[in-house]
């Protein structure tokens, strides 16, 4: 038997021998009351507090104009969404290392969470996971009707058994490791902008 298998049996039997006397029940997670009201303003406020920003864009053309206005010097725009062409399609990327030169990555999130101002992005949305992390800046499209109130609702929507990677992203990369001073752009994206753009019906 390989060592790891022996260790597996040793660990599991040590656990069984040492289990506390009382087997405790799993508590029920109740539904918590939420204050009534629209979720979008709450989402926007939390997003700003996390160092990101949200923009209402009325059309794809407006979204493209906004992208250029936000990142005028961008040379490589890698897009994972059909609405915005960019300069490189993420579907053509075979190896994540090819994304090292990306200035702006463009993706669409499945939904947002008002409680933290986070967006949910999966491997299917990113096509190549590294797009969310090697891009210097990120643009995230979000349908404003796809916002859930809190993390309980958020976890009812995720399908972890259907994706190898999923991330609640609350803003750009941040650190406070030097004298507790908040700095954005530690290792991941330097900025994150959410564009409210409804998903076009097919």
């Amino acid at each position: 038997m390989p060592t790891s298998k022996i260790s597996r049996e040793t660990i599991l039997s040590a656990i069984r021998n040492n289990l506390p006397q009382r087997q405790l029940e799993h508590p029920r997670i109740p539904g918590f009351q939420r204050p009534a009201g629209p979720l979008k303003p709450v989402f926007e406020q939390r997003l700003q507090e996390a160092g990101a920003a949200a923009h209402d864009v009325g059309s794809v053309a407006e979204a493209e104009a906004k992208l250029v206005a936000l990142h005028p010097g961008a040379k490589v725009i890698c897009s994972a969404v059909p609405e915005i062409a960019g300069t490189r399609r993420v579907e053509t990327v075979h190896d994540p290392h090819e994304l090292a030169d990306v200035d702006v990555g463009v993706v669409r999130a499945q939904f947002g969470v008002a409680e933290g101002g986070a967006v949910w992005l999966t491997q299917e949305d990113l096509v190549v996971d590294a797009l969310a992390f090697l891009s210097q800046h990120l643009i995230v499209l979000l349908d404003p009707s796809e916002i859930v109130p809190d993390m309980h609702a958020a976890y009812r929507r995720v399908r972890l058994n259907e994706t190898a990677y999923g991330c609640f992203m609350m803003g750009p990369s941040a650190t406070a490791d030097v004298e507790a001073t908040l700095v954005h752009g530690a290792q991941g994206a330097r900025s994150l902008n959410v564009f409210f753009l409804p998903l076009r019906s097919a």
Binding site: T3, S4, K5, S7, T10, I11, L12, A14, I15, N17, N18, L19, P20, R22, Q23, L24, E25, H26, P27, I29, F32, R46, A50, D95, P96, H97, E115, G116, A118, Q123, V128, D129, A130, A132, M151, H152, Y155, V158, L160, T163, A164, Y165, C167, F168, M169, M170, G171, P172, S173, A174, T175, A176, D177, V178, E179, A180, V183, A186, Q187, A189
Partner: protein, 470 residues
């Protein structure tokens, strides 16, 4: 008993305090500010206390069914294509990781913060075998470049000033030693780390929660460094302590609402990432590590410490930790949680730690999973006393106290004698920073003119008279 030298946190803490007028007050101030942000976030959630209670119960349920959930996790992760390994102890963990790296011909790896890998001493193990290990979390990297372990589980370099960091970077990556702007320093490390991400043959992460229902493990960071390590190199290895299990996806809602609020006072970390099997085109290995955890599960007084989600709130609120600095604990885990975890690894080496506490109880009050930390500290003191590990200074004073309390007449003499002694002791002696560093910012309360006994004797007769009249 181990052969290890006993850690002396009080002596180490004194060095931190007397070092200068900058480091210790700064450390205290930053962590207290973090605590205040935590308090504000917690107060904004009406069900905060209920969430703590539920989180505690989910963890207790999981730990009392741990064998079942580990098997469920393993089966689901394997089904999704992950390779699951088991390691009894630190040595086996390091060996498993090393063989995976060897099999893939990896010479350089980039890792995110993992207290478990720290606990296992993984980095020196791999480096002795010719594998270059780069920390990608900024705070961890600062500590790695400075040849120090992390001093805090969330803010590894929080005991350093910006000038210290500028000096470390100037020495090691060639930045301007006079530029200590945190934005500049962060940017310098970003530019230094990025090429390392691109050449690394493997990315390593720890794990915040492992979900049995789906075989998912999740990692929370603010920098996104764990995600780069997991998404760029072809190989991802995650080290997971067996206590990280939770049963269901739904449970995550409770834990994520508590974790970052308790840790840094934000609703979530910037990135809460879920890994279920390898990414497209990648390979994923999971190492489930015991390293003393199954034994701890069998300790009736201490198994609740396995509920810990490593938020660091107990450290930020602790008056002793804030003034000592994490390095004073001489262990992987510092602060109140360290005081109750470290002795399970080596009772003799860490026998002083339970005495490095005021037992104020604040740690238990802020713990998001309601670990009875301060009660456990007291219980560890009893363990140490029973084993005869009582610190020398305390053994002596306890012996004197025992004699004096056994002879009341001597106590009254000493009590009255201490008063004029304090009157005449020069201020510089009582407050001398090197003799009593803890007193630096404190004044002793005024002594009353009357001892309690004098007051009692005077008043007892009055009181007795009243009683007699009724």
């Amino acid at each position: 008993m181990s052969n290890a030298k006993r850690v002396d946190p009080a002596a180490a803490a004194e060095l931190f305090i007397i070092r200068d007028q900058v480091h210790e007050p700064m450390h205290d101030r930053f962590l207290w500010a973090t605590m205040q942000r935590r308090d504000k976030e917690a107060a904004a959630i009406p069900e905060w206390e209920e969430l703590r209670e539920i989180a505690s119960k989910i963890k207790e349920h999981t730990l009392t069914h741990l064998d079942h959930y580990l098997e469920e996790f393993e089966a689901n992760a394997t089904k999704r294509g992950a390779h699951v390994h088991w390691a009894l102890d630190a040595a086996e963990h390091n060996d498993v990781v090393h063989s995976i790296l060897q099999d893939h011909g990896v010479k350089e790896l980039i890792k995110s913060k993992s207290m478990l890998q720290e606990e296992c001493g993984m980095t020196p193990y791999l480096e002795h075998r010719g594998i270059k290990v780069i920390e990608s979390d900024l705070g961890e990297r600062i500590q790695q470049l400075d040849g120090q372990p992390p001093s805090h589980i969330v803010f590894p370099a929080i005991h350093k000033t910006r000038q210290d960091v500028a000096q470390v970077f100037a020495r090691t990556i060639g930045t301007d030693p006079h530029n200590d702007d945190p934005h500049f320093l962060t940017e310098a490390m970003r530019n230094n780390a990025r090429p390392r991400f691109l050449v690394a043959g493997a990315g390593m992460t720890g794990c915040n929660f492992a979900i049995a229902e789906t075989g998912t493990f999740m990692v929370c960071t603010n920098e996104g460094n764990a995600d780069i390590g997991a998404s760029v190199p072809p190989l991802h290895i995650a080290s997971i302590g067996i206590e990280k299990l939770i049963p269901r996806v739904e449970d995550m809602g409770v834990f994520l609402r508590l974790l970052s609020r308790s840790a840094v006072g934000t609703p979530l970390t910037q990135y809460s990432s879920h890994f279920t099997g390898p990414r497209k085109g990648g390979e994923l290995h999971i190492v489930l590590v015991d390293n003393g955890r199954s034994r701890r599960l069998g300790m009736p007084d201490f198994w609740h410490s396995l509920k810990c989600i490593r938020c660091g709130a107990c450290m930020n609120t602790c008056p002793v930790y804030r003034r000592s600095g994490g390095l004073a604990y001489g262990a992987t885990y510092s602060g109140p949680i360290g005081v109750i975890l470290d002795p399970t690894f080596d009772e003799f080496k860490y026998s002083e730690l339970p005495f490095h506490s005021t037992l104020c109880g604040s740690c238990s009050e802020v713990c998001p999973v309601k670990i009875d930390i301060s009660d456990q500290i007291l219980k560890w003191r009893r363990v140490m006393a029973k084993k005869g590990y009582l610190p020398l200074a305390k053994r002596l004073s306890f012996a004197v106290a025992g004699h004096v309390f056994g002879h009341p007449e001597e106590y009254h003499v000493i009590e009255k004698a201490a008063e004029p002694a304090l009157d005449y002791a020069p201020h510089f002696l009582v407050y001398n920073r090197s003799l009593n560093p803890w007193a630096r910012d404190r004044e002793l309360p005024q002594l009353t003119k009357q001892t309690f006994r004098e007051w009692y004797l005077a008043n007892r007769s009055k009181h007795a008279n009243v009683q007699n009249q009724s």
